[in-house]
Symmetry: C2
Subunit: 144 residues, 2 copies
Amino acid sequence: MKSDNRLWRTLHVLLHMHQSQEPMTSQAIGQMLNTNPVVVRRTMAGLRERHYVQSEKGHGGGWRLTRKLEDITLLEVYEALGSPTLFAMGEADDSQGCLVEAAVNQALAEVMDQARQLLLARFASISLAEIDADFEVLKELRGC
Amino acid sequence: MKSDNRLWRTLHVLLHMHQSQEPMTSQAIGQMLNTNPVVVRRTMAGLRERHYVQSEKGHGGGWRLTRKLEDITLLEVYEALGSPTLFAMGEADDSQGCLVEAAVNQALAEVMDQARQLLLARFASISLAEIDADFEVLKELRGC
DNA sequence: CTCTTATGTACTTTTTATTGTTACATAATA
DNA sequence: TATTATGTAACAATAAAAAGTACATAAGAG
């Protein structure tokens, strides 16, 4: 299965937007991510709705951050993307009403749910500013 | 994305095999899971390799449990299926060597890894016997 | 023995989710 | 008003997973 990397890409873009003074066009972002401008617009739409970014039309237009990195958590970005499916595995539909199947579903649902909660709680605890700080450290290390 | 439900299906089958005195044919299992016998054989192949089940050819043949439910954990079944991908989301390949991307990958890898470890640890802590016990409780409740 | 019923597996087809593309509308600026 | 952006619906292409086909092998029934 090819995994959904919109969260990774979106964070990548947001941090670059933070660095950049001018608005970034979908075109430019698409080139950076090696994808199509329309795909970029689609992905950013959810972030615009929540006012994490704004888009401007016409000359000199493009995408611009409207919040501080400290005030955006991973969870917020994840949710702005429509809370994409976390797990690649999921239950079979117990159409048959089989009790064995029901017991299996119950047991696994519990475990999966714990993992989901941990993941989302960690997402909520990390702001984009922290990732940006990691980036600054990397930059120092490699001396660029 | 349509999620992989082999783990669910396989547990379902193993518990039924435990109930059944005679070996279950791939045909019968396929009917139960609403799928093809060949799909069943493919899925069970990993379990056979690890001697959780055995298969017999010819008349009266089929699949049979060769271990006690207490002695099989969810983790073992998961691994017998080839340790399928857990998460539906994964990192973008940082072909460009961008440090921002590297920082994002690093931060998210850490979080995802914690969730993975929790999930697998829980899998290791649950035996099929426990799920079977849940099933017995459900059976009591519904009085079948 | 040989017929039937099973599994084993390589190969092929189908399905489906995602991604990418095109087309055209809208808006802002030079 | 020409150009450069975004916005979005509709459509096409792609690729990964699952399902199915065909045929080989093996075991037991008669």
